[in-house]
Symmetry: C2
Subunit: 221 residues, 2 copies
Amino acid sequence: MREAYHEQLDEVTGRLVGMIRKAGDQIRQATAALLDADLEQAEQVLTSDTSINRDQLHVDEQVLQLMATQGPVATELREVTAALRTTSDAERMGDLAVHIAKVARMRYPEHAVPEDMRETFAAMGRAAEEMATKAGAVLRSRDVDAAAELEQDDNQVDQLHRSLFRTLFDDEWDRGVESAVDIALLGRYYERFADHAVEIATNVRYLVTGDIEWADTAPGH
Amino acid sequence: MREAYHEQLDEVTGRLVGMIRKAGDQIRQATAALLDADLEQAEQVLTSDTSINRDQLHVDEQVLQLMATQGPVATELREVTAALRTTSDAERMGDLAVHIAKVARMRYPEHAVPEDMRETFAAMGRAAEEMATKAGAVLRSRDVDAAAELEQDDNQVDQLHRSLFRTLFDDEWDRGVESAVDIALLGRYYERFADHAVEIATNVRYLVTGDIEWADTAPGH
């Protein structure tokens, strides 16, 4: 029993789950800012991102501390390096929520998303938030089946993403280039957010099973 | 003197530099595929990406091995964790080159980039490739001034990126929505490639100076 190591790793995991929860909150808030053209919510996403960035710094330090004091070996080394990967993923998820919030802010008081695409973006936002929640749960439970479920969710986001492009490239698109570019980039931000949630789960699966699978995060469009 | 540790770390660094060089080759080739509507070059980028992905796996394993056998302490822990970060960055740079190659392939035999925007994309491609080269050099030399230079180069890429959007949002844009979306996404891929090159250098600076600076990789658009 390496009690001190496990205690410290549990603490790190708790903080990672907290970071991912913040990223989930951010994407929910960014989606609300986007759909309601809500400047205040957009600004809040930008502010709370500072907090995730700071968390990354602190958790990374904590992991280094753990490595220095506990001298992890074998599987433990994979655990601590997976933790470092996860802080990067969570931090990046926060950045992507910020990108979305910035589009909302840039178009304010207009809506960046046309009325008839609201439902698609609402669905992407819900899926992204749920994936963040599940990624946090997988991190805690190390449940490999739940990790596989996340890949299914990701397919759903990819489908929504593709449906955006079908609408954009439809001959009836009449909202101009600027709006089309907004939609295309927003779609990419959600899709990347979802990819990072999958990466977190994939890292956990790798820890548990030792299996490598190259998640193809290249969607084309 | 911890000779075995330093020898192994040097070997890891050499392989990291090799990965970054491959990413630089990929972005050059992807740019050529894009500008010349060259299907063969596009396919080659996709093929060579498998090689970077495999490198990531091997270098990560090698770093874990190094940690297990050499038990790095203090600054060494930062060195090995920075190495793990760098394999992610290089792998991601390869993915972004693949995204660019896929746009070229999707539009083949047409050109994805209109004639009068060729020079901007050629410049982004050159800058991105050069940044990869410099990131590799910084990794080897640990030259903090060269790291700062990379941030300057990144500003140049951001400027080119913004100039794309000015062209797209100009009233005279008459090439349709699909082309505008291609350009917007391509611009983002180059810009993210450059960001990862900066991140590699920023990690090195952190190793050397202990200074944290939050590189704001959120460009809006």
